[in-house]
Structure formats: C-alpha cells, structure tokens
C-alpha cells in the first residue's frame, strides 16, 4: 500500500536506505541474528524481523503481501537444508521460493527484491554478512514503487 515504518525515511543529509522485512526461522536464523547482536557484529539497521516457527511456514502470500505493503525488500532465512527443526520444512519451502523467485522475475519484478538465505544459530557472522549483502542488492534497486496504489 504505502511506506511502512518511519525511521529509515530519507532525510536531507542521509542517503536513502531501503526497508526490508525479514522472516526468520525461530530455531536458527533468529538465534543467529541474536548471536550477531550479542557478539556486537555490525549489521545494517534496515531489517525488521518477523519471527516464524520454520521457513516452511512462509507462504508466498507473506512475501507478496510485504511487497504490496510497500516494503522495499523481503528476506527469508531458515536453517540449512538438512537441519530443519521439523526435518523437511525448509526443503518444501525451498521449492516454493524457487518458483516464486522465477515467477517474480517473469512478471517483471526485479528478482533482487526477494532474497533467501540459510543461517544457523551459530553463524552470527554469516547472518550479518548476508543481511548486508541483501541490503545492498535492494538498495541498488531503489524504492519499491510497482505495487503502490494511486490515492
């Protein structure tokens, strides 16, 4: 619909920063993000985290709804394949993401808007690095305007 949250809005002396919604699996990536925090690893402040029980919980609706709500990017992170707390949640999810990613591209949405990654609870560093990477990709794409409605 329109721009969510306020703090990262463009101001005169700061360059534009994207707003990214991150769906993190409770058992790994969320813990990884936590670890990154306690280890005082710098990661970009662009993401807003939604904790989910498993990456298998992520319906394509969540991702597309985030885009229609005006988030500039969506990040999904789960346990490494093979390590899912529910054994195969992320494997089913991975197929879903593959399709969604290709379809978004086919429909003309820049594929970089939506990113997927795996990070375990022990990988605080990896988590920070990949979040930075995702942020840079989205930043390059600029604001997400395609889903904006006219008022």
């Amino acid at each position: 619909m329109t721009e969510p949250s306020v703090e990262t809005k463009q101001s005169k002396n700061k360059e534009w920063e994207p707003k990214i919604i991150a769906f993190l699996c409770n058992w790994c990536s969320y813990a990884g993000a936590d670890l990154a925090g306690v280890s005082r690893i710098q990661d970009p402040p662009n993401i807003r985290i939604v904790r989910v029980p498993c990456s298998g919980r992520i319906n394509a609706y969540f991702i597309i709804k985030s885009l229609t709500d005006g988030w500039d990017g969506v990040l999904v992170s789960g346990c490494h394949p093979g390590d899912c707390h529910y054994i195969s949640g992320n494997l089913v999810a991975r197929r879903r993401f593959a399709i969604l990613k290709e379809l978004l591209e086919f429909f003309g949405i820049e594929p970089g808007r939506v990113n997927f990654m795996w990070a375990s609870a022990a990988e605080g560093m990896r988590f920070a690095v990949l979040v930075r990477k995702a942020t840079e990709i989205v930043k390059k794409l600029g604001q997400n305007k395609k889903f904006e409605k006219k008022w």
């Binding site: 619909m1 329109t2 721009e3 969510p4 005006g70 409605k149 008022w151």
Partner: protein
C-alpha cells in the same frame, strides 16, 4: 425541420466544443475490445463498432468506485465525501439497449428506503448521446423487451448513422439545450430523415432472435422448483461473464481499504455477482444458494420474474452480451427455450 446533421469527420469539433464542459466518454478500442472511456483526443474515438464489450454502465457504475475517503486526525476520523459528483458527464455513442439500461439502473438505485446518492447524482449530471444500430447482431433481441435498434426514448440526443453523416435529434430537454448550443450543426434534409427511417425499418426486420417474455415470466413464476433448472445449470462453470458484462446487473460488494501507514483509508465498492459462491455466503457459514442450480436460476428469475414484479418491466435490455459471452455456450436463447418447453409439455398433457 428540427433534425440536424453533422459530418462524421466533424466529430473532433464536437469533442473540442464539449470537452471543457463535460467529461466526454466515447467508444474506443482498448486491447482489441470496444470500451467507453474518457476521451481527450479525437483519434481515440472508434465510430465503427457493433457494441462495447463492457457496457457503458461502467461509466456511471464502474467496476471499482470510491464511496468516500477517510483519514485519522488524532482521535478523530474525518470523512471526505466525493467531490467529483457534480462533474458533468457526456456519454457519446450509446446503443439504444444500453441507453435503456440506464433507466433500469436508475429504477434500482432509486428504489427502497435508501437511495444511492452516488449513482443518482452522476446519472443526473449525465447526458446520453444515443446511436441507432444499422446492423443488429444475431444475438440482439431488443425488440423482445420493448426496445428497438433505433429507440430514442432513453437518450438525450439521438443519432442515426447515415454513412458519412449523423442525423441529430434532440430528445430530452437536456438534449434540446445541448443541440441548441451546437450552432454549427446544419439542418437536415427530408431525404436524411427518410433514410434514417428506412434504416430503422431494415434494422428491425433483420432482428432474428425473438422471445415471448410475457409467457416466460408466467412460466418462471410457476416453476421455481422445476427440474429444468438442473438441466439449465448443468454446463455452467460459474464464470460470471454473463453478469459482469450485463448492462443491467447492479450488484456490488463494499470493502474498506485501510492504509494504516498513512492514517487514511477509503471505502470502495466493486462489482459483485450472484454467480459467485461467496455472494450469498452468510457469516454463520450457511449459504442459501450453495450450488450452481440456485445461482443460475437467480440470474434468470431476477431479470425475467423479479424485475417484472418489482418494477413492472423486464430486467433485460436485449443487448445479447450474455449470449455471446458464455464460454460454455449456455446461452439465454437455449435457457429460455428450455423454460418454455415446460409450458409446451404441460399444454400437451392438458390437451391429451
């Protein structure tokens, strides 16, 4: 002579003169379909057309329409009413059946305890320029519902297509004052008027689809529970094309679009259709029209039985859109045949 004429190539002049005052809607081609859209450039106007895919009711009762907008200011909610309802609208080139549909729409939106201010205001501010049909289609049956391919009554200004020129007749008071303002129109000759009459006669004769709706209404009223409805609904896939493209269908759904990030929102109405399973779904989960049999029946009953009893006229203008739109060819002519067969069969029984 009261009738006027103007050359088709002067349509630009008409547009130019009326655009400052009116939102000028006319048939145009969009992705291969004829549609009534607001026109600013004469090149967009398409004069050579049978009829539009989506009926011109879309101008006054669009698929999506904002009812009002609201915003939050502190603890208050401030409602902003529509400001464009006073705009004057002109719809050019409306076929007689569709022109008549505006009367049916008005009947509906003005009836009951609550009036639909948005529609009625727009209707009041709208001027309809009708255009007679020289070439009715196989699917046209306006003459069976009290209409005519050259019917003028529901228009404000009425045009006949005489090849290179339009014959102009002012019908309503609104139309008369409009025509008076167009000082550059020339007077029609008797030959023009006669030609229009000939065309009208030819057009009427070329209509092949004919129904006896008095009988249909009677049979419908007596056969709500007849097994024929099973047969009628058998092949229907519930695609809603017949209702979405119907010029007299009035059903809509109301939704709120809440933009919580910007403390604002709007109430919207969008077309709805009795062919959808959601249409009658109640909050409890009960659905009084759970299957296609009830939904198909509702469409036919509404147009040919409920309308006659509520408004004393048929709820159909004979444009034939539902006939051509149905992808499984479950078309009105076949449906009516099946309904009338009930009567024939019972007649046979009585006489036997």
């Amino acid at each position: 002579m009261d009738e006027k004429i103007f050359a088709k190539k002067d349509i630009g002049k008409l547009l130019e003169e009326l655009v400052p005052e009116y939102k000028f809607y006319a048939p145009t081609k969009i992705k291969g379909n004829i549609a009534f859209k607001e026109i600013t450039d004469v090149k967009e106007i398409e004069l050579d057309y049978l009829n539009s895919k989506v009926p011109p009711k879309d101008v006054l009762f669009p698929q999506k329409e904002i009812i009002f907008e609201y915003k939050y200011e502190g603890k208050d909610v401030i409602i902003e009413e529509r400001k464009d309802l006073e705009d004057k609208i002109l719809i050019f080139g409306v076929r007689p059946c569709d022109a008549y549909s505006f009367k049916l729409l008005e009947d509906f939106f003005a009836s009951g305890d609550f009036q639909d201010d948005i529609f009625l205001k727009k209707r009041e501010n709208a001027t309809i320029i009708g255009l007679g049909c020289n070439t009715p289609r196989q699917s046209c049956f306006c003459t069976s519902v009290g209409g005519h391919p050259f019917q003028k009554e529901s228009t404000d200004v009425y045009l006949s297509d005489l090849g290179d020129i339009f014959l102009v007749e002012a019908i309503s008071d609104k139309g008369k004052s409009l025509v008076k303002k167009l000082t550059w129109l020339s007077d029609a000759k008797k030959a023009d008027v006669d030609k229009a009459k000939d065309l009208a006669k030819q057009a009427e004769e070329s209509i092949t689809t004919k129904f006896n709706f008095d009988l249909v209404t009677k049979v419908l009223d007596e056969n709500f529970e007849h097994p024929v409805w099973q047969e009628i609904s058998e092949s229907c896939i519930g695609c809603s094309s017949c209702t979405f493209l119907c010029p007299t269908c009035t059903c809509f759904d109301v939704i709120d679009e809440n933009d919580e990030y910007n403390n604002r929102g709007r109430r919207i109405r969008i077309w709805d259709t009795c062919q959808s399973c959601l249409y009658t779904l109640e909050t409890s989960g009960h659905n009084p029209r759970p299957a296609k049999i009830q939904r198909c029946r509702n469409r036919i009953m509404h147009k040919f039985s409920y309308y006659p009893s509520n408004y004393d006229c048929l709820g159909c203008v004979g444009c034939g859109r539902c006939i051509t739109a149905c992808p499984v060819n479950n078309e009105l002519r076949l449906i009516i045949d099946k309904i009338l067969e009930i009567e024939e069969k019972s007649g046979e029984k009585v006489s036997a």
